[in-house]
Symmetry: C2
Subunit: 223 residues, 2 copies
């Protein structure tokens, strides 16, 4: 009876942990969308707000980390719950670094808003949208223990990688044809690479989810 009581309390704690990770993820998804929106719409105040949001993401990381340590110490979980909490510890680090990347994108956008636009942006918003969906699905897969959704996220990473390569090639052409575009093209190149890195983080999360569910490690086996 006491055991059941503790078990129920622990279930609630794990659910709260899931919810706080989803809430942190929601902030990161908003940062991805708004950092690129601040570039496309040349909206510097939105860039500033995106940069400011990074502090909240950082605070969330520290507090979830602490919570995981408390649960490990107090509940001494085994097997599945142990794996869930240790993966939560790693996932918040990935989320925090995604937030850093978004803040960097917003900083570049803020700089680019001071200069004439280089070209209409089509592929970068597409890339941002796909990246945001990957982050959302990776976290949904984590909280639901859904390995199929996690596998989908790993597969989607190729699409973002391809878009990044395509954008880089296009920017190279711009720079070679007109050296006055070099400085702006380098900033766009940086933004494209940052999005690709965020997608890589989402893939890392998805790989850990597959490991959590299937109990085997697919990291380093998917190219």
């Amino acid at each position: 009876m006491i055991h059941e009581h503790i078990s129920k309390a622990f279930d609630n704690e794990l659910n709260e942990l899931r919810q706080s990770i989803l809430a942190m993820g929601g902030k990161v998804e908003l940062m991805i969308a708004n950092s690129v929106k601040s570039l496309v719409d040349r909206d510097t105040p939105l860039a500033e707000r995106t940069i400011a949001l990074d502090h909240e993401v950082n605070t969330a990381e520290v507090s979830i980390d602490e919570r995981c340590l408390e649960l490990l110490a107090l509940r001494q979980p085994a097997a599945r719950d142990l794996r869930f909490i240790t993966i939560a510890l790693k996932i918040v680090t990935d989320l925090e670094r995604m937030g850093d990347q978004c803040a960097n994108i917003a900083k570049r956008a803020r700089e680019m808003n001071e200069e004439p636009p280089l070209k209409p942006y089509i592929d970068i918003p597409r890339m941002a949208h796909h990246t945001e969906v990957m982050v959302k699905e990776a976290l949904d897969a984590f909280v639901r223990g859904d390995s199929e959704l996690a596998i989908k996220v790993c597969m989607d990473d190729t699409f973002v990688d391809d878009l990044n390569i395509q954008i880089q090639r296009e920017l190279l052409t711009f720079m070679i044809e007109d050296p006055t575009t070099i400085s702006r093209a380098m900033k766009l190149n940086y933004i494209s690479k940052s999005l690709e890195r965020i997608a890589d983080h989402a893939t890392n999360v998805a790989e850990m989810v597959i490991f959590m569910v299937k109990g085997k490690d697919i990291r380093h086996t998917i190219a």
Copy 2:
């Protein structure tokens, strides 16, 4: 008596864990040095060997991760040991990603060895050397619980950041003056940024060590 016996066994297990993390770190340090050496000496076979070494780093991550989970489940550590093991879990992820960056540097070096050299490399080897020292010192700080050394690593990151900015400016000048250098300059830019990212990972490790030792979180307080 039995308790003492278990405690001694656990101490030995923690020491083995420390040693395996240092061994993994040693491989990453070698990868940093050799990826840049393969660029400077135009040594493509060395680039190939560096790329191959990444598999060993990946395998080390998986095996140390498993070991940490076993220790958490079997020993149910508290306080300091719990914190040590959960930070070990995060550190191996950073080390694995440093290995990925080194493999990427070696791939760019392999491509650049097929083209005429752009310029003598002075700052990139300096940056690589400093980054390698940061990784080594961050891991030494971790295994010894030395927060002063960890703080030094955080401070050293500024030097690597500054070198990266300096290299990027220089490359921008090259590209503007002679557009035929753009493709090669972009690759060097990529290599410089990869080194900067490795130094960032070392800083992340050092920050976690300070957290481990001091029990307070300095992450996100050092700019």
